[in-house]
Symmetry: C2
Subunit: 167 residues, 2 copies
Amino acid sequence: MEICLKPIGFVRHGFRDEEVKNSVLGVPGYIEVLPEYAEGLLNLEGFSHIFVIAYLHKTREEDRRVLRVKHRRLLRFGVKIDDLPEVGVFATDSPARPNPLALSILRVRSVEGNRIYVDNLDLFDGTPVLDIKPYDRGRVVQDVKEPWWAEELEKRIRGRLGLNLTP
Amino acid sequence: MEICLKPIGFVRHGFRDEEVKNSVLGVPGYIEVLPEYAEGLLNLEGFSHIFVIAYLHKTREEDRRVLRVKHRRLLRFGVKIDDLPEVGVFATDSPARPNPLALSILRVRSVEGNRIYVDNLDLFDGTPVLDIKPYDRGRVVQDVKEPWWAEELEKRIRGRLGLNLTP
């Protein structure tokens, strides 16, 4: 069974892939919705945040066979490789996964014609976008619980950066 | 440009489509991850909620050409058709959209082998699942803003049901 989809738009920002990888809170830019779908943006203005489901087109074929990962991105925050737990790909947002889909929560700056200007893009320039949905109040979960390793790692990053990582 | 994906699992609950449509908070059931991907669930236990990206396989071909919708689901909450604003599909979670993808936030009951037992499934029995991601604290947006029409409609539903609609 194969499910085939077409991009409804693309990520645009002009930064190099390495710059996106090394940014902590992402880069500013916009989602360019293809003209034939632009009507679908009607009334999106007014939502402070959106979900973007994108296809990570630079993921290699062998990355789609990965089922366990370590959060290697954390190494540059001073976390040692041995401290990193090995976790299933469905317990992370690692780009290495059977279907390389990204789920980004982006703060909306403005909607202008077929462009949605956003702040914190963690996607490479030219990434195909499959869908856009509003982040409404119903998406805010009040009593989120995480496993200890996820809490611990998040704490270390926040401590290191002195940052609130919420989008 | 076509992007082709394979299901990593399926929604299972045994309720009829009409029962799912008429349920307000969804139905209980499980996500059955295909055995070849089950290892990807390692360490998912401990997250209270997950995102599920699913493919709405019962969406008709003509529904993929829809770009503006009214929230007809609201009619049964006493909202009149004329009160409903027409909105772009990317400002709603309507199943009629160019790529019929669903983004569900589900409360996890337990993870047992290749099954994730969840509470509030708003997906039909047998729906193909494309990806699963943890809902971690970083996904909670503190200062969500919505357009007036979305707030108004949400208020009416909550009032009618006396319910908190958060998952």
